[in-house]
Amino acid sequence: MTKNLKYLVLSVILLALVVPPTVLAQEGGQPKSSSEFFDPEEFARQLALLDMEPEGPADQPWLQAIDPEWVDTTQYKKEAPWTICFSNAGNFNPWRVVGFTTMEAEVELHPEIANFVVTDAEGSDEKQIGDIADLLATGECDLLIVSPMTTAALTPAVEQACETIPTIVFDRGVNTDCPVTFISPIGGYAFGAAAARFIVDNLPEGGKVLALRISPGVDVLETRWAAAEQIFMEAGVNVIGVEFTGDDRATARSIVEDYLERYGEIDAVWMDAGATSLAVIEAFEDMGVEIPIITGEDQQDFLVKWQEEGLTAIAPTYPTFQWRTAILAAIKILSGEPVPKKWVLPQPTITNENLAEHVQPNMPPQHYALCGCEELPGFPERWGGKPAN
């Protein structure tokens, strides 16, 4: 009897563990403002860039630049053949895998690149700092390309590299302007805003919006949400929830099922990245509820579904073709040709009007349409695709 009573008492204690969070929930239930990540000036600047006409060939967006400020590079001019070194943060998601494959294919187009030395930091700042030091220590690199893991941690390593060889940074930034050029698309505010504006424009009066994010605290993702939150707030949109999926499809789907059970219907789902968009759509389908306005990215699985179902959807992009640009910039610098100090690449948005151009059923589900890789050697097999019929 004593023992069994303990059993009961402890089960009550165990349940009591669950109670305090319900108190917190009353405060935490409202979506919190991530104003600490919101920089109104940068927000306005990015939105202005979205509307600007980029310089350069329209059929080669990876060579285009928006509002460039050209810098002279004759001091870096060097006779080919060159050794180009690349410190990669890692290939830990399909976006990076597609980008890196594109980069390797671009290198093959240029016989003047005799060696392309790559280190993979496997998602670790420490390893990447070590990688950069190792690459510099070999003394073989004529130029260093860095795709940094996190901004603050990699800044000193990049500064050190700048002192010895011309350095290019792309994708995520660093807190120094010592690289010859920094290559990236317009940015997170523009990405989040494009999706949020589309929802605001198409949402029925008083419509319910669910926001799904990957994880908190990552600046490139925080800016996407900060922009969307700002736009939703200004438009007085009813945001019923902001949830983190951890980029996991089953989690995303479960969250949507939970919200559908709670609210019966959802009118729009805003997503900060597209990897789980298809799982979200399937949750609506399988529960027999109409698929809402949805945002995604340029992954093929989402685009194919969008076309099949005729969805009300939009896909801002963070193009993988920037991995090509890094190599092309390296060649320009070593040839002494000018490059933009801040090489801002266009950030196209896929809409119903141009959807058909981007659907490639022969490519794998997580292939990114804006790889700019269709003319590169080995396409489509190299990217996991089947020959187009």
């Binding site: 069994n4 009573l5 303990k6 165990l14 949830e243 709670r262 589900p365």
Partner: protein, 332 residues
């Protein structure tokens, strides 16, 4: 606990029913409380369709917990199941590549991979005498690497619809219930078989004996390596099954199995199993897994952001483990 020894007329009357209630494992009360609470927050929850959808979402974890319990009662851990789930989903997509004809062969191949992983884990633990924690941690890393290598770092290929039936579709026209997810049917069969295996067969008794006191078990003539290999195989097979269901439920992704190993262990502990082995019950372990899932659902309904969920999950694992330790102390 002076309370129980104080005998007033009131408690004398109540003693017998109280005793009967107290004999019911605590986890069922926790589960019932959670389900009732969820029903208050979401009045639709008790509807068959909504509840069955909840069960379907919980099924992969329940099946995984059932497999994990076999390993835990022998005094081991299986940390490799999360990676095996990922390998199953990615492998399923690569093997079928969207072709419905290839589904049967792909499923057989995936189960053979699971069988191989289980046998390997069991052999290393039994004959190389590496602790199961280290063995399966190594396997976790190796399988994740294998999945990455095989797929080239990004998911390739689609799972055909007939592969996804198990995790996604329903059996229509069931009396009283309407449609029943195939996953739930698989869950019911799986639970019954697992309960029978652990509590109704000689094998189950031997597994418990190995965990309780390996020396005594060996002396009484139990072939310990055979038992160990068998429990790891059961765990791996459960992981492959969970992977097939998850792939069906949500499609292909790189991180589908992440964290499942810890959730399965947490569920089993919540279900009252001893982490040192020798003690565990299949029905309570399954109830533990369902409680964990119900708790996540509840926290979501209460509007808690996911970091709170992670914190609460951690507290519960610690609470359940402390409780188990407390209980084992009070018994000896």
């Amino acid at each position: 606990m002076a309370l129980s020894t104080r005998t007033t007329p009131f408690t004398r009357v109540l003693r017998k029913p109280l005793k009967m209630v107290a004999a019911i494992p605590a986890i069922y009360f926790i589960l019932a409380a959670l389900l009732i609470w969820i029903s208050f927050e979401n009045p639709n929850f008790p509807q068959p369709e909504v509840f069955l959808a909840f069960l379907r979402r919980a099924t992969p974890l329940l099946i995984l917990a059932a497999g994990q319990l076999f390993v835990i009662v022998t005094g081991g851990f299986d940390l490799s199941v999360g990676s095996l789930i990922t390998l199953t989903v990615l492998g399923g997509a690569l093997l079928t590549d969207g072709n419905a004809d290839r589904t049967p062969l792909a499923i057989v191949t995936l189960y053979l991979i699971g069988l191989g992983v289980g046998i390997f884990n069991g052999l290393v633990v039994s004959y190389l005498r590496v602790s199961s924690f280290i063995t399966t941690l190594g396997m976790l890393i190796a399988l994740k690497g294998a999945a990455l290598l095989w797929s080239g770092g990004a998911p390739a290929g689609y799972l055909p619809d007939n592969f996804r039936i198990f995790g996604r579709q329903n059996l229509e026209g069931v009396p009283y219930l309407g449609k029943v997810p195939y996953a739930v049917i698989i869950l019911v069969v799986y639970s019954l078989v697992a309960t029978y295996l652990l509590h109704g067969t000689n094998f189950g008794k031997k597994a418990l004996a190995v965990g309780d006191n390996p020396r005594a078990a060996a002396l009484s003539g139990i072939a310990i390596p055979r038992i160990r290999i068998a429990v790891f195989v059961l765990s791996s097979i459960s992981a492959v099954t969970a992977g097939i269901l998850l792939g069906g439920f949500a499609g292909v992704s790189m991180n589908v199995g992440d964290g499942y190993e810890l959730e399965a262990i947490a569920a089993v502990v919540l279900g009252g199993a001893m982490l040192m082995g020798g003690k565990g019950s299949m029905p309570t372990a399954i109830a533990g897994a369902l409680s964990l899932r119900a708790l996540f659902t509840l926290l979501n309904l209460l509007g808690l952001p996911s970091p709170y969920r992670a914190a609460v999950q951690g507290l519960i694992i610690i609470g359940a483990a402390a409780y188990a330790a407390f209980r084992s102390q009070s018994e000896s």
